[in-house]
């Protein structure tokens, strides 16, 4: 029985990669554990190992092929003596037989075959077995509107880059500009960033300004705050904001409150940044969206960009801001490519929302990855004759309510969308503010779509249920439009 060798996923959010080179050639005999090929992503290089013994009968994807989707068959292994020509028979993608040992693999390709939105993968071992990965169809968020940005001069050239690169460039530019800016965190220097956001910074700025810390969030957050009190401008990377729970005392009690407690003497210009919220299949302790937590605290600013351009412009603004900033990124968005204005010094002001899509029938407010649901829903609603205006808050605190209120005054209806939990969530705040400031303009109660009120489950189907989805946003929009 021929066995497909599939393009493996190296991380929970990897969608595609490059087949760098084959280390075996057709006809070679392979044993379990033999390295068959090397693959690359923007984050890492990994080896593909054979799971079983046999003969590499066919190479389906050649050396140096870019953008190979996860789970694409890249080669075929047959048992010794088996007819290699059997391998030539075409098989549907994702139809590989899962080896008995891989009990965790979900029924391969089911969701993908139906074209459903699936944003999930298997785990990320250092070396990846060549077979039986989870399905790979990944929803691409709609390309954001890039025309008519009020913050970009007309005629500015736009270059496509990933959110990851945009964030890196923002840090590099600010570090070139100001010698007081430095980065510290786990794996930010020699490893080039756990999610490769700090790639290349060590090489350019050296170990004094790109500091690898031990795994010690409470301690290094406090050290960062102390350095900021002394006038430096640290960027503290948390490998994820889930780990910042270890450090939250220093963020809240020291960073946020000292300016006030010192009667304005002691400022704390620091940026805490890193991925926040759900990635894919990483379980409850690595999936928490903390936007609502930090947005509850006076003395902090909380920024949560969606587009690559905003990620860059807002991070640069955050680094220059004289206050403590919580900068919430998203692992799923890191790899998304979007247009970024090619400007020497592109800044996006903190505290300003952006109307991402104009409309007249209903206002959909979201931020961060919540924007992917909002924008997709707006597209679908348009097909049904509902013209939705989509607002990207971009900053959660201070919240740009005037932009939201103006929109609600026009549409008279609002749906707020976030991945975080419902109780005391950001959307709860949005709803309350609209009631306080625009009650008389409302033709329907404000609706919200949030993550479900449960710790994030691991199982693929349950995780999908726990997250908001486009259908829920569409349903909520229709409900407030009484349609």
């Amino acid at each position: 029985m021929p066995t497909d060798v599939l393009m493996p996923a190296l991380s929970p959010t990897m969608e595609q990669g490059k087949l760098a080179k084959w280390l075996k050639k057709e006809g070679d005999t392979v044993k379990a554990g033999d390295v068959l090929a090397e693959i690359e992503t923007d984050k890492a290089t990994m080896e593909v190992e054979a799971v079983d013994e046999g003969v590499l009968a066919k190479i389906l994807v050649g050396d140096g092929t870019d953008n190979v989707a996860v789970n694409t068959p890249i080669g075929v292994i047959v048992a010794e003596g088996e007819d290699a020509s059997a391998a030539a028979a075409p098989r549907p993608a994702g139809g590989a037989e899962a080896p008995a040992s891989n009990e965790n693999a979900p029924a391969a390709g089911d969701a993908a075959a139906k074209g459903e939105v699936v944003v999930e993968k298997g785990g990320a071992p250092a070396t990846v077995p060549a077979q039986a990965k989870a399905p790979s169809a990944v929803a691409k968020p709609p390309e954001p509107e890039t025309t008519a940005r009020p913050d970009v001069p007309e005629g500015t050239e736009m270059v496509s880059m990933t959110v990851r690169e945009a964030l890196r460039d923002a840090m590099a530019e600010e570090m070139r500009r100001d010698g007081d800016v430095f980065v510290m965190g786990e794996e930010v220097a020699e490893y080039q960033g756990a999610y490769k956001v700090t790639q290349g910074l060590l090489q350019e700025f050296g170990p004094k300004r790109v500091i690898d810390t031990p795994i010690t969030e409470h301690g290094f957050a406090g050290i960062g705050v102390g350095a900021a009190l002394a006038g430096l401008k640290p960027i503290v990377e948390f490998m994820t904001f889930n780990f910042a729970m270890q450090a939250i005392d220093q963020i809240i009690n020291s960073a946020a409150k000292t300016l006030y407690m010192s009667g304005g003497q002691m400022g704390c210009p620091i940026v805490f940044r890193g991925p926040n919220g759900a990635a894919a299949r990483v379980g409850a302790q690595h999936s928490h969206d903390y936007a609502a937590w930090y947005s509850n605290v006076p003395g902090l600013k909380v920024v949560m960009p969606y587009t690559a351009a905003d990620a860059k412009g807002l991070l640069k603004a955050a680094i220059r801001d004289p206050n403590p900033i919580i900068f919430l990124e998203n692992e799923i968005l890191y790899g998304q490519s979007m247009p970024v204005p090619k400007l020497d010094d592109f800044l996006v002001p903190i505290g300003k929302a952006r109307i991402h899509r104009s409309g007249k029938d209903v206002t959909i407010v979201s931020f961060g990855i919540g924007m992917t649901y909002a924008l997709k829903a707006a597209e679908e609603l348009a097909k049904e004759g509902i013209d939705a205006e989509v607002i990207d808050l971009r900053t959660i605190r201070p919240m740009d309510m005037p932009t939201v209120i103006r929109s609600v005054q026009k549409t008279n209806r609002c749906v707020a969308v976030e991945e975080g939990f419902p109780q005391s969530g950001v959307t709860a705040e949005i709803g309350m503010k609209i009631m306080e400031e625009a009650f008389d303009y409302l033709d329907a109660p404000v609706a919200r779509v949030t993550g479900k009120d449960v710790p994030m489950p691991y199982a693929a189907n349950l995780e999908k249920l726990a997250l908001p989805n486009v259908g829920e946003v569409i349903a909520a929009a229709k409900a407030v439009c009484y349609r």
Binding site: K208, G219, G231, G267, R320, D321, N323
Partner: protein, 345 residues
Amino acid sequence: MAAAAKRAAKQDGDVVPANDPPPFTREEDLEAYREMLLIRRFEEKAGQMYGMGLIGGFCHLYIGQEAVVVGMQMAAKDGDEVITGYRDHGHMLATGMEARGVMAELTGRRGGYSRGKGGSMHMFSKEKQFYGGHGIVGAQVSLGTGLGLANWYRGDGRVSMTYMGDGAANQGQVYESFNMAELWKLPVVYVIENNRYAMGTSVSRASAQTDFSRRGVSFNIPGEQVDGMDVRAVREAAGRALEHARSGNGPYILEMQTYRYRGHSMSDPAKYRSKDEVTKMREERDPIEMVRKRLVETHKVAEDELKGIDGKVREIVNDSAEFATHDPEPDPSELWTDILREAAV
């Protein structure tokens, strides 16, 4: 100096050598006396004012521990930072902050160092390199290590003097900070003020290792135990520790063996220790009496001169109390200021 060499930093639990610190000159003893007496009288006055309802909330007095911060400051150089926990009035006065501003902060008035918005535990002075004043036990240790990181980053030759109590020394972030400070050779002197009680819990009831000078052993941070009631011993050890840190050798730990005469805070009945224990310490080991005795017996300072100092100190303290009693409360508009700084972007 032979005495200094004898007390070289111990790394593995050597017995602490007998304390025979080098003597102070007449001027040095006078300075130590004046500084310690100012703290003592200030704290006594704060206690009174608390009793009169002029000071609210928490108020942790430093009485008994004066030699620690005064001895440290006598060895420090301009620019060296000071950061501590909530028992902080003494540190502020020792760094040269004005008694008026400290007392007015205690009474929550607009002339206070934090314009009345910080209180007893939260005062700062950029000018005097005093970085607070922190109410979360142990948090100042990471922050102080961050001050050290800033010194290291700038290469400015400054040392962060990071104070904590025996209670804070059991917090996890202290050890996270020790690790990074030694790893990166940050210029930090950790001063553990062991006053024997973390609130109401004695050291032996809270600490598996009661020799706090050894708390850095697993990070290779040298440390020593110091008689924190003798300002000369404090200054001598401080000089050694600061020199070590300033020369790029990394952090140093000084365990100051001291004692607080008053309760943990004003509302502490101090049932966890006997009156005799306190009385014995006051009578036999009082840091101010020790200096006063030396001034009279060794330096032959006349009683009148000492009375003159006492009078001046009282004047400063009374003036601060008078100011803090009559200074207006902050303007209501202050409620909404100093939350964020204006951003240029």
